[in-house]
Symmetry: D2
Subunit: 459 residues, 4 copies
């Protein structure tokens, strides 16, 4: 979407806005107002809150600033639905979100409609550049919350002692499906460029500030596994006493794992009725591990991913090894990308280099990882499961947060978090890219987080 000589940039942006906003509501379709009240862990939020907060984002950073006549929907929402922006003033404690029975869902939906109408008015004309940049950011923000809606409601329903399903229909692999054997791809050492510096003349090569600036780094020779670790492989680690051997664990991981009584990934429950002895809670309820054994293992903490890698005689990749491999993999793909859905509609040029991001994303409606296919090269880099790296989350050389309150979006979380790469089966396809950095604390398990092995290579 170049800024010059394009027929209708505002119209395209509005189309994209509508598509993404609609996708949010689609995710909520199976949920009742009561479901949208549940906050089952300190990390999660009620779905209703996500619906409000994403609207708040556009109201706060776009409408209030760029539409002089804008009438806020409700005078209290400005502080009520602030998540963590201290620069904007006080906000409710996160844990209080579970008490937000008022405003009722109907009001939140009216809030969304109010904001949508105002956004449509704004986008009747080409907005100024900063407004357009903010809208782009707001859409990426909404996509992040789409992913959180999926992971939070999964946890909420699982926490219910009845373990109800998000949807009844399970999409399970064919019983004969076998993931291809894990193989190794070797990468030569060298200087490379990582991260991204958005083109100042183009508002649509979007990147979060934490991906910037593009900069030089040196990569030592390494090897990367062709696909993520599967449930069957992870079960072997468990069967070899992976959870009771301290030498496999980081000290903090060992302490955490024992304090939390972890004996398997989150959502695995012992089930004597199955061959493997385990069932796994999915968005379609509990399924026997037997049917999912070839799928990438997920809902692992960093500590479990790290312990598995040590047990396997390997290690986790650094985030730059991952990005280097992903970039190279994409560059080999031919020039006829077939990208599906909303992104294609919006002719998002920034992804033109990323031609094969047609992985198992939220649009596939699987909502669970699927087995890798038998194809040459790196499989499942994008989608299926977020891949834990060994890299702590810090700012790149030359990193500067966005100015103002938006500077709190990413930068202030740069401690005690680990970078994950590649997106998952509940990530929107147009949201991910090779430079994308997700980050969570090392004991986090409620995301669809798995791992891909790496190891050093001789030069």
């Amino acid at each position: 979407m170049p800024t010059t000589s394009t027929p209708a940039p505002a119209a395209a942006l509005l189309a994209r806005y509508r598509a993404i906003r609609k996708a949010t509501m689609r995710l909520c379709a199976p949920l009742s107002p009561e479901d949208m009240m549940v906050q089952s862990s300190p990390e999660a939020s009620p779905v209703k809150w996500h619906l409000a907060h994403t609207s708040w984002f556009f109201e706060t950073f776009v409408l209030r600033e760029f539409v002089p006549a804008y009438q806020p929907f409700h005078p209290d929402f400005h502080w009520l639905f602030n998540s963590y922006y201290n620069s904007l003033g006080e906000m409710p404690e996160k844990k209080l979100r579970a008490s937000f029975s008022r405003p009722p869902l109907d009001s939140i939906l009216a809030y969304r409609a109010h904001v949508d109408a105002a956004m449509a008015s704004l986008l009747a004309h080409t907005p100024e550049d900063e407004a357009a940049r903010r809208i782009a950011l707001g859409l990426e923000h909404e996509q992040q919350h789409q992913e959180l809606i999926a992971t939070d409601i999964k946890h909420a329903l699982f926490t219910n002692p009845l373990h109800p399903a998000y949807r009844e229909r399970a999409i399970l692999p064919d019983s004969e499906t076998i993931a291809p054997p894990q193989e190794w791809l070797a990468f030569a050492p060298g200087l490379t460029q990582v991260g991204i510096t958005p083109d100042p003349d183009s508002i649509d090569t979007f990147a979060f500030d934490n991906e910037t600036p593009r900069h030089t780094t040196y990569i030592a020779p390494f090897q990367l596994a062709t696909r993520p670790v599967t449930c069957a492989e992870y079960l072997a680690f468990m069967d070899e006493n992976g959870y009771t051997r301290p030498e496999l664990w980081l000290a903090e991981g060992w302490t955490t794992m024992r304090a939390e009584s972890w004996q398997a990934p989150l959502y695995w429950h012992r089930d004597p009725a199955t061959k493997s002895g385990w069932s796994i809670y999915t968005m379609a309820g509990f399924q026997p591990l037997d049917q999912l054994s070839e799928t990438p293992v997920c809902h692992l903490s960093f500590f479990e991913a790290d312990a598995y890698a040590r047990w396997a005689g390997c290690r986790l990749p650094t985030e730059f090894e991952w990005e280097y491999a992903a970039t190279e993999a994409l560059s080999k793909i031919n020039c006829h990308p077939e990208r599906s859905g909303e992104a294609a509609e919006s002719k998002d040029l920034r992804l033109s280099a990323a031609t094969n991001l047609s992985g198992n994303f939220v649009e596939s409606t699987q909502l669970h990882p699927i087995p890798a296919q038998s194809k040459p090269g790196l499989q499942q880099l994008f989608g299926d499961v977020w891949e834990w790296t060994q890299s702590g989350y810090t700012g790149y050389p030359g990193y500067h947060p966005l100015p103002g309150a938006l500077g709190e979006y990413n930068g202030k979380f740069m401690s005690s978090q680990i970078v994950l790469r590649g997106g998952s089966c509940v990530t929107p396809a147009t949201h991910i890219r090779p430079t994308y950095r997700n980050f969570f604390g090392p004991s986090t398990r409620w995301q669809f987080s798995g791992l891909r092995l790496a190891k050093d290579a001789a030069m």
Copy 2:
């Protein structure tokens, strides 16, 4: 409701059942399904859970045991809505109740209807004595949960940063209303009987097991204040630095108060816009303390009540002093009781001695304490506010819990709790009696709990 020669005891019991079950639903009328999801403290439960659990009580202790053909509404509800009866098997942790978005409210209402229909069938004929006793217990249990619905939803709505009101209409005292001066009534020492031993031949002189048996105790001479302490009086304690003078507090109270940063009763907020500097959250939202200053202070912990009494040079009464005074007060009343509402309809003989229990109960729909009237004798013994005593909650001499799982109803809580007496403005009128013992931990504040002063008297 004598067991002999009464035309229709089953019909009367069914009428009482229906009246009480209906009263529960009346309390929920202003609430949305979302409101009924909130669990804002470890002490409280979501309203929806109360609706289910009270039905579970009849299903578990009456229908499953006395109706051979009874079909339970749902196979999982037996463990799902068990509160704390270990004898019946495992149950969900209390804090998980906030995750019960499923079953939806509609299912819970269907559950109630299913139980009500089965109860009506059972009560088409005179039930056997044990069944009738259990039904009577179940109705008292339902009334206890009515009170909890009121206190829990008050806390839930208050916890919401918007502080919405349970109902819009405030019922406030006339601005000229003045509570009568506090005076003292002296009581002579002597042996007295406290507690109650139900007549084994009458199923309707109901009492909880913790009120039994009736037994002898010796009362030293004492004086009791004619009415509870008011907000204005409590404000004087605060103004004289009541919350910063350790000599006024029990050691545990001092530690608790500082750890919790208490500076006033629960629900009091500083409000510079008012004359007194405080507003109080009520079921009708925040109201200026100025308008409530003559009402009994409530939402006090035992520690605050105790500190106030020490500041006033007095003490809290023992539970037997209170009961002794209450019994004497009632015996002075004439023989034409005028008791209102549902209790009168059910011709509940057990209360025939308790002729003047027409205080400010939930049926008044005030839902907040009101100022005492200028009348001779002890005022507001019943209703308005629960009165903290100085008595620890233990079993009476000869106490035996009910047999079986119902033995867990009261007895197992006989440690680290303090007895309160008299009921509150959200207690059903027919639920209270002079021997009634309520009990909470000494730091509890979410109940409508206040105090009445006592002091020693020379013989």
Copy 3:
């Protein structure tokens, strides 16, 4: 020790002072300065702190107030060794006592000597009544801390992973010793007097304020076991799954027991090398339960004592039942008391009615309970183990704390504590009396606390 016509009340008081102060040091003889640094639980204090604080008590409440020329030993000790008297100003947090390497033990001993010298000067002449009362209180206070020194160092040495012994020499029962069978004594109902009102004209009928005033109470008929429960009996409770049957426990006890992973009394360790499978840590290190099975079980929480009683179909006595029985038992004893040790020396008249308090106290140097003897009547009421009652710790009718800072000694702890009666094997013999009320929270186990069964009796 009447205040008139006694040859040398001051000399007698000084002799008693010296005897008690010396007894404190005798307890410390086996300990190194390093041992005296350990604070192994929030309830306990380092022994060195006890040595200082008991001197502080005399300095603060006697010497600073009644000896105008008194020079405090050190200007900081006034706040440093204050335990919990808020009226005297700020004090260090209790947990900081573990950091008191300075002042060194030598300084603390010099502090004791300094105070002792000043006290000897003061007691060269008959002190004024209030001073004498405070000295008497200070001596009882010192005796309380003697008991704490024993219990705290036992816990401290046990906490050391090497489990060193306080002393090498074990005093174990003869292997043929058998405790007599538990029998029941029945007590008739009636009015009785409990507590004590000290004679204002006699400074030596000492009682703590929490034992006052003497007052009337009514006792229902009851039975009391002739001796405390033994280890062998408690083992039977354990063998019948006492620790895994919720119906035996108070709700708070069940929660506490599971949270703390209790499976036996404190100091019991599984020991496959013994016949019973258990060894018990004593002041002489671990001993096989086999050799201690006939001794009273101790180091029980109230919750365990209560659960045992319920398992046995009995209950715990109230504190007044206990006192009533103890008073009656003592009144039956003949008129030639033979009381040993320091108390006899001081001709302590207040105990003349208490003729048989020659139980297993700290002076026996057993430092562990011993089996009951086969004698008629109630055995081991005094000494051996503190006996949990079912009574919450509150003020008696007409109770008033001492004036001033000393009012904080007892009264402010009157919440959430349970009364224990009778003293233990580490209580000084002259410290205990029938009206004595000890009190601890219901989960406390580091004291020598056991139980004696009670049950209701038909009239």
Copy 4:
């Protein structure tokens, strides 16, 4: 100390062993056995434990493995003084170290002597290579514990409410001393080598496994401050509300700082008697900040260092920027190193390139940072204060932990920790080197930790 053709490598190693062991005891000279008992925070250990554990290290990893006839000093010490090596079996919880009154200090000193004698026997002859490597590791380990002895006893004495001093004599800067202005040195971008790969043919180029292997990295252009931030500069940050402005802090830092009520660095106390309003607790007790304002600020958490840097418009350096600058700085120094003390004696060749490590180390006996000198180039890179970097602590490319139990020395802590560089005023001079990586959690403050500013530079 090459392995061939050296006259007396064993003798030199023994001399080094004796010098370092003696230095440990020198640090303890001012301490009593009681002082050595205190464990004032979960991070710290009692000094006595350090004395035992360092001996345990030689016993466990050298004597038990390389001296067949070695008789362990005590059979229990093998598990008792194990710190965290799970491979060697169970060990006491860290917090229990405060209960180790037994073995007494005398036994620990005898343990040290026993180990020293056995080590002397072993070093009567040239040990095999692996033994020599382990001895070298044990000596570095002992030096790390020397630093911990200093920091732990500082915290222990400070925790004592009397705040006694480790030593009476204060070494304070001359009142006219002024630190030179902070200037910037610019570094060109480029590939560089960081870390170290020890020469396999030389046992004495010691490095911890976490410094290995030497590897290539790319450094972007940057600038580094010529000296660490001073107290005066940090006070300006405080005066500009540094502790109340959320925009200056990482989110985790903001939360931590408020939860801990930090308002200044650790050891700073408000002191109205001083000009600046602050005094600082040092090893010689409290000193007015006025006299220390030109010294490097220390006892900062990473969060405070990071917030200061943001306030100053700068950032913290990466660990490789720091190492790159330090290596370059050292390479400019001439070829006649003058290194003092024990290291010089041992002719430690590995440091021959590090010619100017004569900073303010523990050997200066200052035990506190001193003002920077006015000299060209980077000042105080080594000694004075550990410098927080922005780098998370992870393994280098190709990193492999040592084999066996010693693999637990460093590697298992590679999560949630931040790298610090350069050593402090309590680090032994021979212990530090440009590649040395220290690491602590981001909220750690009890180490002598400060900061040096960095910033990006245009290419």
